[in-house]
C-alpha cells in the first residue's frame, strides 16, 4: 500500500467495492443498507454518523441487545458516589426519532458473509450492503481458574456496564468499616487500560466519605506495570494513604485460583481474603466477531488501518474494543473516533461520498480523588499500514491542584459531548 498515494488507494478501494457488490446506489433501486451490530461507543456513533451524513440516502439499522445503554465510562464515578446510575444510562430514542435509525432490539447470532445477511436469535434475518461490528468484549471467565459467569453473581467483574455495575455498587455499599476488597486486574489487552486503577481510587474515595478508615483494597495484578502508574500511585498516597496496595506478579508470583464462596484468591505467594472480590478476567472480541470468523489468534479483529475495514471481508467494518487498532487503546473515545472513519468509508462505498485520510484520536481521563483528574491521550494516523500515534501527552506528576481540577472538569465536558455524539 505504501507505493500507492492515498487517493489512488481510495479509488482502488472504491472500484473494488463497486465491482464486488454491483452498483449499490443505482437510481430507482432500494436504498443501500448499512447494518450496525452493537449500540455502544462505536456502534451508536457509527449509526448516527452514517444516518446524519447520508441525509436519508441510506437505510440504517442498529441491532442492540439492550433497551438502554449504560456507559462503562464514568461507571467508576458511580461506584464512588460521584455520579448516579441514571446519569450514565442512555436511550436510543433520539437515534430513531431524529436520525431515522431503525433500532432493533435483539441479539445478533449469525453473520452470513456470502449472503450478506445477519440473523438474530429470534430468527429475524436482515440484509446488508455494509456491516459494522462493534460488539465490544466478551469475558473469558475461566482465564481466572474458579471464576465463571455464575461466580460473577457473587464476585462481580462489572467490566460490562449494567446489572454487573449495580451489583458491585450494592456490594460495596454493604461493606462495614474494616471489611476488605480484593481486585484481580486483567491481563493486556483489555478495555480501558486505566480503568481498574480508577476503580480502586473510587472505592477508596467511597470508604473515605463513609469514614471507613480501617478498610483496605488489594490489587493482584498479572501485569508488571500499568497505565498512568506514577500518577495513580502518587494520588493514592495523597488521598488515601495506606488504603490501596498494588501487588505485582514479581511479588505474588501468579494468580492460581479464586473461590468466590470463601472470598479467597490464591497466588503463588499467599492466599488473599476479601469480603468483596472484584474479578476482571481476560477479554476477547464479542461473540459475533468470532462467529463471523473475523478474529485472529489474538482474539480480536485485524482491520485496514486507514478505514477500519476488516482485513478478512471488505463489506464488514470492525470498530471499538473488538478490533486490533494498532497503537490505540481500547476505549470509548477510540471506538467513537474509529466509528467516524468507518462511517466516512461506508458512505464512500455506498453513495460515493468523498473520503479523506483517516485521523484518529483518544483521551482517557481518570478521577483519582475530588477535583483531582489526570489524562493521557494521543493523535493517530495510518502510517505504513498501521494505526500509529503521531503525538501524545500525559498529565504531569508535579501539576498544581488547579490544573488537576480543570482536567477533571474537562472530563465532565467530554462525557457530555461524547454521549451526545453517540446518541444525538
Amino acid at each position: 500500500m505504501s507505493q500507492l498515494t492515498r487517493r489512488q488507494f481510495t479509488q482502488a478501494l472504491g472500484l473494488g467495492a463497486a465491482a464486488l457488490t454491483v452498483p449499490i446506489n443505482v437510481i430507482g433501486q432500494a436504498k443501500p443498507k448499512v447494518v450496525i451490530v452493537g449500540g455502544g461507543a462505536g456502534g451508536a456513533t457509527a449509526a448516527r454518523y452514517v444516518a446524519k451524513n447520508s441525509k436519508g440516502a441510506v437505510d440504517v439499522t442498529l441491532i442492540e441487545n439492550s433497551k438502554t445503554y449504560t456507559t462503562c465510562f464514568f461507571s467508576n464515578l458511580y461506584l464512588g458516589g460521584v455520579r448516579d446510575y441514571d446519569s450514565i444510562t442512555h436511550s436510543y430514542d433520539t437515534l430513531a426519532s431524529d436520525y431515522g435509525v431503525k433500532v432493533v432490539h435483539g441479539y445478533a447470532s449469525e453473520v452470513d458473509r456470502n449472503g450478506r445477511t445477519i440473523k438474530l436469535q429470534d430468527g429475524t434475518s436482515i440484509a446488508y450492503d455494509r456491516l459494522v461490528l462493534s460488539p465490544g468484549i466478551d469475558l473469558i471467565y475461566d482465564s481466572v481458574p474458579g471464576y465463571s459467569e455464575e461466580a460473577a453473581e457473587i464476585a462481580p467483574h462489572a467490566w460490562q456496564a449494567g446489572p454487573q455495575t449495580q451489583l458491585l455498587k450494592t456490594k460495596l455499599e454493604a461493606l462495614q468499616n474494616g471489611d476488605n476488597v480484593v481486585m484481580v486486574a486483567p491481563p493486556n489487552p483489555y478495555r480501558c487500560p486505566p480503568g481498574p486503577y480508577e476503580r480502586v481510587s473510587m472505592m477508596a474515595h467511597l470508604f473515605k466519605t463513609k469514614g471507613m478508615t480501617d478498610s483496605t483494597i488489594t490489587i493482584l495484578d498479572p501485569k508488571p506495570k500499568f497505565s498512568k502508574q506514577g500518577l495513580f500511585t502518587a494520588g493514592w498516597e495523597k488521598h488515601y494513604p495506606g488504603v490501596i496496595e498494588w501487588i505485582s506478579p514479581d511479588i505474588h508470583g501468579g494468580i492460581l485460583s479464586v473461590d468466590v464462596n470463601t472470598g479467597t484468591v490464591e497466588t503463588d505467594l499467599d492466599t488473599f481474603e476479601g469480603t468483596l472480590l472484584n474479578i476482571i478476567p481476560k477479554q476477547t472480541a464479542g461473540a459475533i466477531a468470532h462467529q463471523a470468523e473475523l478474529v485472529d489468534d489474538s482474539g480480536f479483529c485485524q482491520i485496514v488501518s486507514d478505514s477500519m475495514r476488516s482485513v478478512v471481508d471488505e463489506n464488514i467494518f470492525v470498530i471499538g474494543d473488538a478490533s486490533v487498532a494498532g497503537a490505540m487503546p481500547k476505549s470509548g473515545f477510540s471506538a467513537n473516533s474509529q466509528a467516524k472513519v468507518a462511517a466516512m468509508h461506508i458512505l464512500g462505498d455506498v453513495i460515493s461520498s468523498k473520503t479523506f485520510p483517516a485521523k484518529y484520536s483518544n483521551t482517557c481521563w481518570s478521577m483519582i480523588g475530588t477535583d483531582d483528574g489526570v489524562k493521557v491521550g494521543a493523535q493517530y494516523a495510518s502510517v505504513d499500514g498501521k494505526i500509529a500515534s503521531t503525538s501524545k501527552f500525559v498529565s504531569q506528576g508535579d501539576e498544581d491542584a488547579m490544573v488537576r481540577k480543570e482536567t477533571f472538569e474537562e472530563s465532565l465536558g467530554w462525557y457530555d459531548g461524547m454521549t451526545k455524539d453517540m446518541f444525538g
Partner: protein
C-alpha cells in the same frame, strides 16, 4: 473573505499578544480555499468534546465562534503559547489547510 474584517483583525491583533508571524499565518489561512466536506469530516473529531450545549462544563463552545478567533486559538495551541495538553496535541496534528477548513466549518455553525 471580507477585506474590512481582515484589516480590522490585523488592527486589533497588533495590539494583542499574538506573535507577529501568527498574524500572517492567520491571514494566509483565511485566504485558503477550503473544502466543505473536509471541514465537516475534520470537525467530527472535535464533536467528541465540543458540543453545542456544553455550557459551563470545562470545554468551551466553539460552534458559531468567529473564524479568525478560531484560527488564532488553534495556532496558539499549536505553538504552545496557549496551555492545555489536549488542545496542543489536537492542534499539533493540523496543517494550515485543516485549520482553515475547521475554522470555516465551526464559524458557520450555530
Amino acid at each position: 473573505m471580507n477585506r474590512l474584517l481582515i484589516s480590522l483583525f490585523v488592527l486589533c491583533c497588533t495590539t494583542s499578544s499574538y506573535a507577529g508571524d501568527t498574524d500572517s499565518r492567520v491571514t494566509d489561512i483565511l485566504k485558503l480555499d477550503s473544502d466543505e466536506a473536509y471541514g465537516e469530516y475534520l470537525a467530527s473529531e472535535c464533536s467528541t468534546c465540543h458540543n453545542t450545549s456544553s455550557a459551563d462544563n470545562g470545554i468551551p463552545i466553539i460552534h458559531g465562534q468567529d473564524q479568525q478567533a478560531l484560527i488564532a486559538a488553534l495556532l496558539a495551541y499549536q505553538d504552545k503559547t496557549r496551555e492545555n495538553e489536549t488542545m496542543q496535541s489536537v492542534a499539533g496534528a493540523l496543517g494550515n489547510e485543516e485549520i482553515g477548513a475547521l475554522a470555516r466549518y465551526f464559524s458557520s455553525q450555530k
